[in-house]
Symmetry: D3
Subunit: 240 residues, 6 copies
Amino acid sequence: MRPSGRKPNELRSIVLEPGASKYAEGSCLARFGDTHVLCTASVETSVPGWMKNSGKGWITAEYGMLPRSTGTRTAREASRGKQSGRTQEIQRLIGRSLRAVTDMAGFGELQIRIDCDVLQADGGTRTAAITGSYVALQQAFDHLIGLSVIAKSPVTTQVAAVSCGIFSGSALLDLDYQEDSAAEADANFVLTTDERLVEVQATAEEHPFSQAQFDEMLGLAREGVAELFALQRAALEGSQ
Amino acid sequence: MRPSGRKPNELRSIVLEPGASKYAEGSCLARFGDTHVLCTASVETSVPGWMKNSGKGWITAEYGMLPRSTGTRTAREASRGKQSGRTQEIQRLIGRSLRAVTDMAGFGELQIRIDCDVLQADGGTRTAAITGSYVALQQAFDHLIGLSVIAKSPVTTQVAAVSCGIFSGSALLDLDYQEDSAAEADANFVLTTDERLVEVQATAEEHPFSQAQFDEMLGLAREGVAELFALQRAALEGSQ
Amino acid sequence: MRPSGRKPNELRSIVLEPGASKYAEGSCLARFGDTHVLCTASVETSVPGWMKNSGKGWITAEYGMLPRSTGTRTAREASRGKQSGRTQEIQRLIGRSLRAVTDMAGFGELQIRIDCDVLQADGGTRTAAITGSYVALQQAFDHLIGLSVIAKSPVTTQVAAVSCGIFSGSALLDLDYQEDSAAEADANFVLTTDERLVEVQATAEEHPFSQAQFDEMLGLAREGVAELFALQRAALEGSQ
Amino acid sequence: MRPSGRKPNELRSIVLEPGASKYAEGSCLARFGDTHVLCTASVETSVPGWMKNSGKGWITAEYGMLPRSTGTRTAREASRGKQSGRTQEIQRLIGRSLRAVTDMAGFGELQIRIDCDVLQADGGTRTAAITGSYVALQQAFDHLIGLSVIAKSPVTTQVAAVSCGIFSGSALLDLDYQEDSAAEADANFVLTTDERLVEVQATAEEHPFSQAQFDEMLGLAREGVAELFALQRAALEGSQ
Amino acid sequence: MRPSGRKPNELRSIVLEPGASKYAEGSCLARFGDTHVLCTASVETSVPGWMKNSGKGWITAEYGMLPRSTGTRTAREASRGKQSGRTQEIQRLIGRSLRAVTDMAGFGELQIRIDCDVLQADGGTRTAAITGSYVALQQAFDHLIGLSVIAKSPVTTQVAAVSCGIFSGSALLDLDYQEDSAAEADANFVLTTDERLVEVQATAEEHPFSQAQFDEMLGLAREGVAELFALQRAALEGSQ
Amino acid sequence: MRPSGRKPNELRSIVLEPGASKYAEGSCLARFGDTHVLCTASVETSVPGWMKNSGKGWITAEYGMLPRSTGTRTAREASRGKQSGRTQEIQRLIGRSLRAVTDMAGFGELQIRIDCDVLQADGGTRTAAITGSYVALQQAFDHLIGLSVIAKSPVTTQVAAVSCGIFSGSALLDLDYQEDSAAEADANFVLTTDERLVEVQATAEEHPFSQAQFDEMLGLAREGVAELFALQRAALEGSQ
């Protein structure tokens, strides 16, 4: 039995709420159980300096946690004056994941800025962020289509992410915080609808893991993202 | 007619949602129309160094805005590496307002950290933050009472805040962003149930204002906070 | 009796010394008793980026304290690497106060930078800074008139500031540090010669204050600034 | 044919030079072709605050690049005032990789600080850093054995890392910079002598990759680290 | 003829005004012509951590310039968030110069913090700072003698500083800003009453200089400091 | 006898290894005994903003130490977020020394960035850095000659640096760390082949020094740099 009482291949209750922001061109509040991440996509008319006159756009992401999104309060990064290594690692991952499924030459020299802010954290914030950001990004492109800036979305495939872990030697899907803390290893998989891999990050917490365990985690992840893809499609259809 | 179509002394639709955070000892999501501020109160067992062995507690506040809480995206303070002057001014105001209605000798050497995070901004974020933080603070003290750490709440009176402005020469209550941008002057009043003043901040945007105008704003503010006090009481009763 | 032995409506000995800096286009050393603030106005030919091509100028202010301007040494902000919230709050107040009495369209796209540096502090540094900066600003505009850059000063009225406080329940004018530390409430009033208000900042230190007390403070402030206006005029006449 | 002319499963010329630092308790200059990383292990007698009295030690890592270790000069992080997200990501990876093969309860409350400084970069700096740091870490533990601080090394298995990439659709081992720039995907594998996995980081550069491609990369990585393990053993034997 | 019209060996008009600060244990306003530096000495009861239990005291210095102490405004270091290399170089020089003439074992584990703030700059601010700081330091020790903390001053000899430069091939004493800008080389000499050297910093601006030129500068410096020593003694006698 | 066993006028074993970097336009690994400094010269096509359109080039330098270049680990400046005063002082010295022997109008509006990174430190890092940087700089100009960007090197004379100290009352050449720690005074001399002086920095560590001692140190320095000049010439000849 896993701590949460869920079956090994059972996701938490997932809700993707599109249009959660009044102002953003695209937005989605992603809830993976008690993990709540507000994802917004902002369209800006300038790309980074090194991309000027490339004819291509850019997608970048930033990530943050509200100080009391966690069980004990976490110091505010804005008042500490810098972002932690963990924050930077996560926001880089989100940006790469979205760029990998987007034709960067397909939306002019625009920049989409993704903001993922964790309102409440219970494990798996980065996977909720990626899954929700896909919805926000797609909404932002729909917005640009509505404005006739682009004719069709440059997104080439859906992308979603889910975590897995090794617990008492076998694999579990979509860890909550308590499970994550006790896991022997954990992995985040960013996958596409055509069964390809965008990012894999697998980490041994205390003990190295075997290839069989890795494969077992990847198998669970494939099951999990199939559900997430369906929820993404429903969210986008409902929001049009 | 004011831009929002409201009457001069009419508040926006106000909702104070207590217990909005799973983890915080006290919390309140304050909605003043489209302005949404999540207020949490975290109890910590250490006070600032200069207060050690004073037998008194401390209340401090931090304030932040999500990057896309605003009409056009605002740069994230954590990635810019410092908090703006405006942020610091607001968080100092919140902290002073709460300390002024609390007996600092009444809860031992504990520290209550208030976090006010603006999820969506449409004017009046600081007044929503103070009004909601009162609820979060009181909840945190109720939590300490429940733990028998203190016998009764050290809060001496309710405190709430509301903004007013001068628009086309006359006073309006509870400005939204559009109204605030066009106001000739604006003021924030932090008031108590016994009709005393905790903080007054009045600022001429373009032209100095008269004392009569100031008095008119203060009169509207008194009307407004009466409603806020009732909402605070209802929120706290409902959450017990 | 107040701690300083002054009458409730009695200012400290005030000296406004124009032209205190060899280099600045405008300057004034403002002495409010033992509080000494050097105010300079520097004319720059570039405005902030967001004002380019607006046809308007800008006035901004910075504030600092020498480390040993205080009774015990205060850490140098330049070596700590950031300005405190108090510093930012004060410099924003100074800038707003001066802009409110200046026609921003009346001096082209120039920027006036005000620097207020506290050489010695004994309470009321922000009010001395505003009062002295008015002189420095006016001198800087006189300098621009002398250069035929502008035909007349864009300043629309004099502006001066003074603090008041509630001490043993009644109001006092122009608090020194000792009085300020013991005050139950304190307020800073920024007022104009035509009896209008530019900024009001009133703060309960320990206990909220009544409206009658607020009105009493404002009354004293009106008396105080009348004297300050006369000193400003004398300083500017003497310096021409 | 791959750009470097090497066979798909061919490592660059690898040299692990132990004892490259006069002062460090352990050190290794790791050369993977033209990539040169100086790895040092410093023994410190204090652990991070949150580990005090845990009876366990800690291993942490920092990573840096000399400004002209790259083809065009990279700005010095010390003068920019902060470490990039990439730097933080890499140094966190190095630390985790070494902790995963060390019994943290086996060397008292000591801290080992690993420093990996890239003297010259030609791709694969993080894998060279991990591979060389293992040697430095083991030397530092040998040093502690020599001092009778510990009786035996708490390292449980060898750990080494190597990169792979997808180039023209098939997998290559140990990419140099030119190959890495052109790769469709790349992955870093941190592996142990008992064929377990410590870390996997696989990233699609432009297009998601298939599971078959991932497996092909992992297979090459297993071949590669077998050679690296032999070189580590030789380096440590030679340095005793 | 030198630009200032002074003779080659002629100091500017020098005034050392002791006790210029109401609060500091020691202070001196040093005026070298239009260069005005306020020097204060603050006694603190804690030394840096690495000196604890050494039985010795410490003297350290900080240096700053008011933004409009210069002909065109210099950005405020507190708002830029860091001190320039020049600032750090100067404050290290001041600290070393004073420590070199003080018996660090002669005043217990106290720390004297010197602050040198340039109110107005016209060349030679560091030499004015050292010369004035000597007076402030000696006053602070007199203050400690008055409190019976120490029996006698631990200062072993007077120290003063003056600049020299090579201008049109020959040496000049005590350069003002205009002369300094045009000098081919400049040097700062920190000297003692017993004709010893504490610090020498000589720098070729455009062209290397000869030893004869160096010796000529040192000769002028010896003449100059003789006058400064007399002014220091007069300042300290007058202030007792 | 000096601690190192060397004769008073005896340099450590010096090696200047040109071309130590694969990428840099000029480079030199300077070894002064156990002090190893990697010096690179990078050619950039943009000068600082204030030099634009001046027709002149610029040479600037940065300096850093690897964390474990020292006997006990030194905190990494990039992770501390700022460069120490010592670092800034040294890099300013290196830049000035090279500019003083270069005709800044002789290589167009190019910028040469010198990086001096200390791989291992045993005293005298700044003198090794200057001596090696001369070689790197000259190589970079040779590179530009090879590209026909300039016709001849704008370097006007060789420059090299060496330290001296007073130990037990008499002068020693080229101090190592142990000698430096025990020295009563130390000095760094930057000298040219035509026997002129570029920089002199002499500092009393505990006691002021006499002019005779200063002259003795300068005499030793002249002996020392003569050897360094020969090594520089040999390095440059060997590298062409």
